[in-house]
Symmetry: C2
Subunit: 613 residues, 2 copies
Amino acid sequence: MAIIIEFEPIGRRVEAEAGQTIMQLSQGLLDPETDGVIAPCGGKGVCGRCKVRLIEGELFPSNETEKRLLGEEYINQGYRLACQAVIAGPAKIEILPETLSKRQKLQLDGHVFGVVPEPAIKRHTISLKATTVDYPYSLWQQVELSLATKMEIAGLRMDTELIGCIDPLAGDGQVVITTRKGEIINAVRGTRYTGPVGFAVDLGTTKVAGYLVDLQTGEILAADGILNPQIAYGEDVISRLVFALDGEEQYNRIKQALREGLNRLLHNLCKSAAVNPENVEEVVVVGNTAMHHLILGLPVRQLARSPYVPAVTLPVEVKGRTWGVDMAPGGVVYLLPAVAGYVGGDHVAMILCSRIYEATGVTLGLDIGTNTEIVLARDGELISCSCASGPAFEGAHVQQGMRAIDGAICEVTYNGGQRLQYKTIGEKPPTGICGSGILDAVAELYRSGVVHGNGRLDNSHPCVRFNETRKVPEYVLVPSEESGTGKDIVVTQKDISEIQLAKAAIAAATKTLLAESGLKTEDIDRVIIAGAFGTHINLNSAVAIGMLPDLPLERYRQIGNAAGGGARMILLSETERFKAEKIARIIKYIELASNNNFSNLFLKQMGFPKLNA
Amino acid sequence: MAIIIEFEPIGRRVEAEAGQTIMQLSQGLLDPETDGVIAPCGGKGVCGRCKVRLIEGELFPSNETEKRLLGEEYINQGYRLACQAVIAGPAKIEILPETLSKRQKLQLDGHVFGVVPEPAIKRHTISLKATTVDYPYSLWQQVELSLATKMEIAGLRMDTELIGCIDPLAGDGQVVITTRKGEIINAVRGTRYTGPVGFAVDLGTTKVAGYLVDLQTGEILAADGILNPQIAYGEDVISRLVFALDGEEQYNRIKQALREGLNRLLHNLCKSAAVNPENVEEVVVVGNTAMHHLILGLPVRQLARSPYVPAVTLPVEVKGRTWGVDMAPGGVVYLLPAVAGYVGGDHVAMILCSRIYEATGVTLGLDIGTNTEIVLARDGELISCSCASGPAFEGAHVQQGMRAIDGAICEVTYNGGQRLQYKTIGEKPPTGICGSGILDAVAELYRSGVVHGNGRLDNSHPCVRFNETRKVPEYVLVPSEESGTGKDIVVTQKDISEIQLAKAAIAAATKTLLAESGLKTEDIDRVIIAGAFGTHINLNSAVAIGMLPDLPLERYRQIGNAAGGGARMILLSETERFKAEKIARIIKYIELASNNNFSNLFLKQMGFPKLNA
């Protein structure tokens, strides 16, 4: 019999059955436009992040996993882990602020360098006559006759589904016909014609950014971002691959979640821009290799184990209708190919958008995240690699880490006082620390001497204390009385180690690429920092801890979501698309896992560089 | 409750429910590889051809339609119409020989003029290495790397479904890759490779002829014909269109019947030629416009009413898997376009195969059937038309007409005696008259003076009698004692009228084309007669009754199934394919329905030409 479970603060009532976990319910609950429960480890009972609280009713008693991850104090206050807590009867459950996945502010302002619109789709306006005995031509015959006078018609094909979408005797009036690579893919009656439109998508593990683009002018008609709906099945790539590999039904579910999310995003953008979806004729998707494979339903087993190879690295095109995308009947989804298992089409799009490929001299490009992709370009020659930089920058694996949403500490500065200063997003009371905040905190703790060169916290500092439960020293950044959660916000020794691991990986990867090219740090003419996180970091902090090369700051440029920008360029111009495909083909990929140089450099980079005087 | 109905002579037992008609049961019964009940009028109770006999058990009493179409004598002997007779209880039903649809001998020997094999598909044999950390490339990445050294790789795409068909880590060994128009559509492990194969299909209203072709040599590996499985839903084009227009479910059923029939034919050919279906990479379909539309599921309403326009006249390509065709994962079905509602891709294929398009001088080409398509070519300029020549040539609308199967009278000659001489197919006792037989019979009756110039039977001839039931004179061709049915086989006045209508239409259409071109009959340098029926007719008879132009017989050539031959040429060579598409585009189509010249000529051509001395 169905049991009603009520979720607060979102006020959603869900039917459940005894024996289900709260996480299972929340997967059905999650909708990228509203809220749900995050599942960083994929509901495996590993991360302890999916905290919820029982307000009313009952659940089966907490198990060993919950006791270990939450501790007695939390358990006694009614806290549970959504992935472990099992429904016993009707209940009211609070999803905690830090557990609630919210719509995030996305970085949508990737620069687009002058691109001449020359999209893959071509439009032709055709005047129709009524079909009569004296003019015995159906609508499509008239289209064919008309196109024959305008273009090379030999080899022209029809999208079969499209033929049935329009009455062959539809008669008088105008129709706008779209051709794409020798195929007729759309027909819109003149009166419903709202101009050619495309949809560019940057498919991130966490975020999906979408841009509705006017294909004649390149103008962004609407843009928005949603959480990747797959987040309900695991926060990181590996959790999702593991989920997909659980079985065909699971793979299908996680695939559909992403396709439906993309479709919803498109739908909403069309609504807000007052665009009729049948005018959307092409979708361009760039994303990391796992997202690319998961949305296509490609084999992923080989992505989850060394040497992490993509199933395919050719561009792929599918009819949008096969994904259920509400667009032109014959409309196409184009996916920019990946380069390697951890270097995806988003990296290629970033290289395109930042014009690194066309730059003279030596350019270093980094897209920093859970995974950091790095490219080193010298006069059009490209070598790329990828390193696991840990999820610290996304706010995960940090004791009080959170994503860059309201209340997150995003900036930390040392003004010479005993305690560091901080700023929060939205100027809300602090509830945790986001990626740029933790980076600043570590850099400033080092600068102020609270952290030593080897990363150890100075136990003698008045703000440093030893946490008996976690058995690590920690620095109290925000005392409980200032905090939005009513508890201290701290930076722990483990947090600092996470940052050390991440920055060592990035620095070692950069140096490995330089070594492969026979170059030194000072040979780098410019450094391009792409991506949402990279845009928000304080470069001084990143250089101070040795994450980024010690170069004059004027050589740096933070360009925002270049992957999204690249997707728009590819949508807008076939020339740019061919260029991107060429970039994907010519990139020399360096696998760091088997690279001895990298391993050695990685250990050397764990400490912090000497402080400038 | 289910009632068991037994069908003889095929010995099939079928579960039925009271209230079903025998026709309804027989639709489920029909299988192109076995036998069933024909339904010329689509089960509308119009043609009276679906005769069956009750051997045992009971049916609801015969209705007015049956009484009218069968007559009291037949009714008393237990004869019923399958489309009208309603199941009342268990019964044993005989399907009469003339009602039983049998596998027919098809005309498969259309000549193929020297064609250099250059198919749309290209094969590449690639050697693979195992994927390791030191060689981190998946199977498809290796394919891409290898193809890049062999061909222009920019713009190359993958069939998405194909990627999942082969383990990305499949490792060592050889794989044969197929590309088609810039897309990888197939991959076959070296050991299973049996050479490139294609399937050419001539989709007729009655017959479906299929050819399995070696794409390297052009050799026919296997060929066979089946009855068009749609015949269960109506024998002629209009009945089928009417059935399809009855509703979505009906359309789907008639569409699926044809797709499944095509797939079965392919399957059987593969089996008999020991070809692995995954090696079949392209299917070429030519057929009349209605079959083209019905198999694709295109709108057909406009095909069933004046001015009978096709929905589309561009070539169409679909993935075989969308039709359920058991072939290469990314394999393609290519459909040659139609020219008009009654001039289909089969006509285009005939023009290609017969090389009419390339001939110098004036060539007349005819494909004679229920519908006759005629083309007049002058130095590469083509004008075509189509005329309803009646179903007489297919054995329908003739009192004792039947298809060209064993027992059919196929040849009739006048040797000066009182009675005409005849020959039957398979030298079996005569059971009816097929198309070539009735043509001969009329011509010889005219030559012998039994039929006058206006088509009237000479009532004074001893073999001519007045049939009181049907109220028409008839000529007894075979007396009951010689007949395989135990009854007289006759040629009725109405049969002669049918032939007159048919031949007048063909002759008038030919003259209309000549007039449009400003040519006279004697300007025709050659006449090409294509199609199964045309191959079997006696040209002397056809000329004698004025159906074909009175030209020296050495100007005539009977080339058999040129549509099937054209389909094979298109399969084998892209050059021929482009030529065929060009033929389809440049044909000037003359609509006879609104042509005054044709109407006048038609009336004039009803009588027979003066006999040569």
